[in-house]
Symmetry: C2
DNA sequence: TTGAAAGCGTTACCAG
DNA sequence: CTGGTAACGCTTTCAA
């Protein structure tokens, strides 16, 4: 209950312990040479005073804030959450702490957030994707700290990269559908003004259907990213109205796929007998719908871990800033019930 | 490409603009009295040098870091994400920035995180729930900054509260099931050593079933929180093995409810004809399963907004620290298909 | 409206 | 192993 109007600082601890502030500073940090007795003395004094270390002052003087700034599009996304968990685990034990920001899939907001980040003097910056505003790119490249772009393979990376080609994942999926025998395939995604990665998946879809000689114009854009289940359902309604012959629909995410699939089933379609559906992201969810949903696993957590490794390396071997990391993740197709019918290719995968 | 080995500071900008650093400091902040011409001059100089403001130094001197520290149990949870979004929106436009940490539903980890937080000198601290380690409570009360406990109604709050009674939500749900005619009701939750809010829901379940004269011993604890879909499914398997007569199952979350329900359906049970299922949290998901899932809406986003208001008030009216906020949210029952059968009460709700 | 000086709390650096 | 001194980059405070 008692409130000390001024919080104690190192010099207060020093006075109580009968040593200098420098000794306090050292005693409170692990791995410094201080007499064991002295250290214990200092610890007790600090404890007694309720001393709280001030990172601001420390960071100012030592030029090390311990911040790793991370920008993701949305906090409400199991994939990015997994990536963050992977990153957090790697950083555990190091003095590095994550400073998180989210952009709502908006490049302008990203620029604002990067600006906020920079004034906090992070020791590394992690951004999602390779599409930034001109200003943002400039801020990042001039920032003097390692930058990691993740979840994508930018054509001209700013610095380090841990990602995969979003377009290629569509190729993977379209080919799977083709091999299963589907020919009339549609795509459901969000509004085409945002979400570079979603657009890449759409682009990949168009490319691959074209190259297989299929119609590539069955495209629905519904809602600003991230596409919700509700929007996935609405998109499916529109799609079936306009292209009632559709045999399979690729959705930009598992979330939209669930909405789309539920819409189909509630409208009396059988999945996959009447229409096949695929998602993206391998959310837990996609395994607990009925039927289960064919999807793409992008090793979201692994991305975070690799980003963490990259950062730890960069901050260990300071000076050697020229060594760029570029890690390409290989997304995996997860075949499930929602595409399990119309087998005409080689035997295998899930059959009914 | 050109890397300036030292980043410019205010004094550099000042020199280039031909003014003092104080003028630069003022010119770069809105709402300060600086000659328009001078301000423009300074802005140009800053732009030309690529000057980046240093919050560390600013915060050290002014004793205002602009951080609001927020601790949540898990980042991979749509409810907490909504709360964060609500909070973020409220804080938008203010100079306040969120510093996020997550505890994995572990009170010891919470203590660590609060420790990390404190050294960053946040201007307010938000924690989830009212259950903390002794040390943690002490740290928070002595912290000299406003503390908000959310998502719960602690018996002896540290400071401010925005939450609801988790036990009461169970009462609400049990009563609903009772009114629908269900009598043999079970509960699925996580391991009972963590997640105070999940335990409160379990406690509420036991209380209410007892007070209605029902059996209150059909309880399954599976997995460390948060309970996954997979664990929900496993729990349901165990439950049905041990209590095959069960008519309805209350799950600690929508996530576990989906797992449980899918398990039932795959095992040949009809929901709700053979068994009713309920969730908690009103995730989007619960409306896109077949059948849709009866759940509890806790106004997660609103909680965040109210927390934001509380913080903004506290930081505006500094000095008047004695005024405690205590806001009780009223969770709402959302009746859906998964409990729509066996109507014996008054007509209404969803009927088949 | 602008400037000079002092100081926020810590740690780098150098002595002992 | 310990201590004194200066400095990190900004803003408070006071004066012009």
């Amino acid at each position: 209950m008692a409130k000390n109007s001024d919080s104690p600082k190192m010099s207060d601890v020093a006075r109580l312990a009968g040593v200098s502030s420098m000794t306090v500073s050292r005693a409170l940090k692990p791995g410094t040479s201080v007499n064991d007795v002295t250290r214990e003395l200092v610890r007790n004094a600090a404890e007694k005073l309720g001393y709280v270390f001030n990172s601001q002052a420390s960071g100012l003087r030592s030029q090390r804030t311990g911040f790793v700034a991370v920008s993701i599009p949305s906090i409400n996304n199991a994939n990015f959450a997994d990536t963050l968990n992977g990153l957090t685990e790697k950083l555990w034990g190091s003095p590095l702490q994550i400073l998180l920001g989210y952009t709502d899939y908006d490049a302008n907001k990203e620029e604002e957030i990067i600006n906020q980040f920079l004034s906090r003097k992070p020791e590394a910056i992690v951004v999602t994707g390779g599409g930034h505003t001109e200003k943002c790119r400039q801020l990042l490249s001039q920032s003097q700290v390692p930058v990691v772009e993740m979840w994508d393979l930018p054509e001209s990376p700013i610095d380090h990269v841990v990602g995969f080609s979003n377009a290629s994942t569509s190729n993977l999926m379209v080919r799977h559908l083709y091999e299963q025998g589907y020919r009339k395939i549609g795509f459901i995604g969000g509004d085409t003004k945002r979400d570079a990665r979603g657009l890449d998946r759409r682009r990949g879809f168009i490319e691959e259907t074209k190259s297989l000689g299929l119609d590539s114009t069955c495209l629905v854009a519904e809602g600003i990213p991230p596409v919700t289940m509700r929007e996935g359902a609405a998109a499916m309604r529109n799609l079936l109205k306009k292209w009632p012959e559709t045999e399979a629909v690729m959705c930009v995410s598992d979330i939209s796929a669930v909405g789309a699939m539920t819409e189909c089933i509630r409208s009396g379609y059988r999945v996959p007998e009447d229409i096949a559906i695929t998602g993206f992201g391998n959310y837990d969810l996609a395994e607990f719908t009925i039927p289960t949903i064919t999807t793409i696993d992008v090793s979201a957590k692994e991305i975070g871990e690799l980003v963490g490794n990259t950062i730890l390396q960069q901050l260990e071997f300071q000076g050697d800033i020229s060594a760029k990391t570029s890690i390409e993740i290989k997304p995996k197709l997860i075949t499930r019930e929602s595409t399990a019918v119309k087998l005409i290719g080689p035997a295998g995968t899930l059959s009914e």
